[in-house]
Amino acid sequence: MIGCIFNIDGGYLEGLCRGFKCGILKQADYLNLVQCETLEDLKLHLQGTDYGSFLANEPSPLQVSVIDDKLREKLVIEFQHMRKHAVEPLSTFLDFITYSYMIDNIILLITGTLHHRPISELIPKCHPLGSFEQMEAIHVAATPAELYNAVLVDTPLAPFFVDCISEQDLDEMNIEIIRNTLYKAYLEAFFNFCKELGGTTADVMCEILAFEADRRAIIITINSFGTELTKDDRAKLYPRCGKLHPDGLAALARADDYEQVKAVAEYYAEYSALFEGAGNNPGEKTLEDKFFEHEVRLNVHAFLQQFHFGVFYSYLKLKEQECRNIVWISECVAQKHRAKIDNYIPIF
């Protein structure tokens, strides 16, 4: 029954998305990619995959940045296509996905203007999924209140920003705080939205978003060591929709060093496994990569169920991971730095 109703509006797009998903590179493709000697080889191999001739019209010699741009462009075109065909509530869901890119863009622009970079130089660096009309005029604002009143009040991010207005001025520390507060509000809103949608979408998305929230909490904690951020302020930045909430977050708020964070994670089976064997020494994977791997796993699982919106989110995230992988491999190839070329994160 749910399937019937779902397919009226979402069937085509879900099918489309699953079709796109089949184009995600497999392990065998990666094995071939890492053998490439030059970027031309890489291009030749990618031609044989779903990417087809996306680089065919680029003049040689290829640059990694061109590959990156083209990869992103392809992904954005696919996503925009789905967004344009979506109806409520899927359209809101897809919009929610883009909000995170908006946050990134805003932070990027504010940081850029803080360092007196011309805005025209910053705009191309923004993610196209997160662009909005008023974005380029962001450097008008000098304080968070102005930012809110002049720029953000018309954007969908406005409700998330309410908590940040109190900050006095825009320095680096405050920007970080704004970013994390925004993210926190965004994640919680997205989490609640998915919960309201209910059904399989809630099951799948809450799982993924809970992990995202916990990852942020852990990373914020680890990164805050040795900065002037107080523990109280830090605790305010934790998104409260993860599995760590409320006990784990409280414990994280008290943590003073990496070992204590690890100790907190011990209580949660899936996170303790991630901390296990993570490290910065050669041969070990960094905690960040471990997190990415776990995220990929969750996203791949989203495709096991049908009739839900999670596939769209997961598809985007998996594809982003793939872009990161390809760019990583291309960088390694371009810089002839083959020792770390295997540090990509396989998806299938």
């Binding site: 053998q35 191999h45 805005i119 009309e133 008023q134 008008v140 018309d154």
Partner: protein, 840 residues
Amino acid sequence: MGNLFRSEEMTLCQLFLQSEAAYACVSELGELGLVQFRDLNPDVNAFQRKFVNEVRRCDEMERKLRYLEKEIKKDGIPMLDTGENPEAPQPREMIDLEATFEKLENELREVNQNAEALKRNFLELTELKHILRKTQVFFDEMADPSREEEQVTLLGEEGLRAGGQALKLGFVAGVILRERIPAFERMLWRACRGNVFLRQAEIESPLEDPSNGDNVFKSVFIIFFQGDQLKTRVKKICEGFRATLYPCPEAPADRREMAMGVMTRLEDLNTVLGQTQDHRHRVLVAAAKNIKNWFVKVRKIKAIYHTLNLFNLDVTQKCLIAECWVPVLDLETIQLALRRGTERSGSSVPPILNRMESFEDPPTYNRTNKFTHGFQVLIDSYGVATYREVNPAPYTIITFPFLFAVMFGDLGHGMIMAMFGAWMVLREKPLAAKKSDSEIWNIFFGGRYIILLMGMFSMYTGFVYNDTFSKSLNVFGSYWSVNYNASTVMSNKDLQLNPSTTDYQQYPYPIGLDPVWQVAENKIIFMNAYKMKISIIIGVFQMLFGVCLSLWNFIYFQRRISIYCEFIPQIIFLCFLFLYMVILMFVKWTNYGPSTGDVKTGPYCAPSILITFINMVLFKTNSAPAVCDAYMYSGQQAFQMLLVVVALICIPWMLFAKPALILRNKRKMHVPLNSNHHNHAMGSENGDAEAALSQAQVPPPLPPHKEEEEHDVGELFIHQGIHTIEYVLGSVSHTASYLRLWALSLAHAQLSEVLWNMVLRNGLMFEGWVGGIALYITFAIWATLTIAILVLMEGLSAFLHCLRLHWVEFQSKFYQGMGYHFQPFSFEAILDSAAQGPEE
């Protein structure tokens, strides 16, 4: 000329080519298109092959050509397509080509850059022109004497309060995209807290965006504000919204002067722009003449290097080794082509072509011409024939249109179809040259000969059914006559004609159906009985033919065991049950009739074939009215029982005989072989037991294990069981399936009759000039519906049913369809697919 009835005999060849001559030889082979190369380095990545650099250079050249093509298309210059097919250029010419393309591309890029810069300049000037013109209006409004007073006092008071200084309003003027105005205005209001005054006016004519040539609509705006702080802020916002600001002098005289200056500069720019465009046009026209030719050349080079990448290098590095599938009959031609290639390259060592022994299944290659091609495609879309198996395509050429026509039988509709087909066939060359992108048209055009034949056969069956747009033709004059007097005819609704009296001339209408049936009430009943029997007769004979083709296959592949254990019981089963039924139909047609004096052979006693057949299979006795014979001939019951019993015996025969024989043969092999070689045993790893038997002298390389063997036996029985069940049940269901011939034919006839009665007849009911108009309208409707529903839709449905009858009912009797296509390396195919590709 190859064998029409089977696919070409193929052989695997090894080809030794001298490195220098390889390119020219492969080029010749590509023109020929008769050789399928095998990939000898399947484990090597695409980018690790030998000629990957050359392939890459070709890719680069193609990219440049695509760029040129895009530019040519943008300017709408026609590209010359002479259809000529230049030979693949020599490798050394590649450098020349590369240089030419490089030069062209650079020239074009330079021109484009110049043009873009000029256009940008032009755009800026046009925008400035508009600004000057529009702001003039704003300033004029301000200078309006009626408002002046108000303004002066307003400013005056404020000026006094500000401390006596004259307060001066600053302003900026610029141009912005029209859709951005609302957000821009809101932002200005918010960021400046309402302390600015914005006026805007739309520029009516669209402006050209120099970067991509799109037309965009823009608006002129002017913002008044006070103070420097606001000025920076406004400027920032303008920048953020990508508005372009232009200097605009305050004094009217200055503005007028500036406007004049702008106008003259615009004029100058226009001439320069025109020259640039002319230059660009010249370059592109020159390129457009050759571009198709270049594309062909580059694609050929690329194809050759791709093929060379499949080859192996021998140890001495002097020679390339290739393996290829070749039709045996064409070995001579290929040798000739190779020799030509060697001569062209100037090499002294001739290439060597060796035939190789191979256990691999060769590809299936059916030589076709434009007539047989369509039919071969119909067969191949079910499954490509196993190598050298009987190819059903030649028979399909006749049976397919015929079965279609049985369902579609209507002289009028058939004629429309035949005319359409004939038009496509007659105008073949011009139509083919057009290369339409429409998929539907390409399907129709590809099947033009099928459509023509289907149309002609439909005309024939329509003539036999005496059906033309649901009406009959009275060609020879009906052989029936009405002998009632006029008053009887007028007063009675239903009257019967008695065939045994003078109502009927006692011999039938020369060909087809007597037109008298058109007015008969019982036409449908009569036609049903006739068409049903015809369907079964046609079906049984087609299936019998299919089984006979399997015999031809078995003889060819020397599978004697299959002849005895499959073909013979199959044919017995089919003949004894279904062919017998068909024979009974003929007996009934010839023996029973109205004119004989004997009541036993009269209509009253004519037995139902269907009931007789059912009773026969169920071993029941026939029942009949007292005056009649229950049977059509003496001893019928005993004979029928014999037939059924023999047919039933065929089932276990089919089921067990073959596996049992294979098993016995295997045991026999085991004993002597085991005594000689311990490990060698007769086996059939590939499941092809017959092949193993016929090649008894070639011991299979792998020693089969005991387990595997038992597994094999089980599999053998299951396999045979499936086949048997499929055949036995299939014979029944397939025979019934042929009734679709009757069903569709009935539906078609009824539909066309309904269409006539419901639509066209209404138009024929009026008199006088009204009738003309009514007929005009109804005919239009009737004709449209006839074409759309009866010819197109019904035609499609009959086509699909016919396809099914061939694929399932006919081919399942003998056709394996486990082969794979022969895909020769051919420039023609490569160029065709490349030409299709970019248009997607």
